[in-house]
Symmetry: C2
Subunit: 146 residues, 2 copies
């Protein structure tokens, strides 16, 4: 049975690698390792963290290669780059768009999607005379008391 995420998107290494070859990229050992590490990461690792994890598999991998690989994957739309306020960029495999609601009391992160939200922001952009190509949205809140 194929592995899927909570929204039902199928994810697989071979699919990621296929996309890379389709884009004319060569499949190197380093890229395979980095992709695998990224795909297995449940969190949103920084480049440095990612590099450390990759080095545990192949200690010769340099951070420059990690940067280059992530840049490439990001251009292909396979990987999402997040610029959180506190310094360095963080990455995750793009498993389909979802948003985050951070519980301000527990720190827990709730993921959700909303077609309605996507539709509305596209409409807002269009009303302003723009074609939206990207957006960021994050919520902070606490559980409703009954």
């Amino acid at each position: 049975m194929a592995k899927t995420d909570r929204f039902g998107y199928k994810i697989s290494m071979s699919m990621l690698l296929q996309k890379c070859t389709e884009a004319g990229l060569k499949i190197t050992d380093q890229r395979k390792v980095i992709l695998k590490v990224l795909e297995e990461s449940e969190d949103h690792p920084s480049v440095e963290t990612l590099c450390e994890r990759a080095r545990q598999v192949d200690s010769s991998i340099s951070i420059a290669t990690v940067y280059r690989t992530l840049g490439l994957l990001n251009e292909l739309g396979l990987v999402l780059k997040h610029d959180f306020k506190d310094s360095s960029a963080r990455f995750e495999v793009d498993h389909g768009h979802h948003y985050h609601l951070v519980d301000t009391e527990t720190g827990q992160v709730v993921e959700f999607q909303s077609e309605e939200l996507v539709a509305l922001i596209n409409k807002i952009a269009a009303d302003l005379g723009y074609q939206m190509v990207d957006h960021t949205f994050e919520m902070f809140g606490h559980k409703l008391k009954k």
Copy 2:
């Protein structure tokens, strides 16, 4: 008649300076110049741009002071810091809540409000069982070709 921004918020230098003294900060010529330049900026200038503008009034102002002043004002909540994707941070006097659409081709920032968006995200939070207390939202796009 008091000057107001496009959303009707009253803004004034003296108010900003008063907040600074209340916070125990000394009012220096540099701070007055930086504050004035920021307050008169209709755009969302980068630190470097801000520094250039300030230097036209007082050429001895250093970029380190501009950074320090903006950091201070940001801590006081008088100034908003935005980390748009394109490298350097950009600032604006806090005139109340609105959103930003960044033109990916020109770097220009379009401001907008949407009651509909506010209503929708509150509803989304409520549906998830949460009371929203804060959120971030930013759009990136380019002008529609006709």
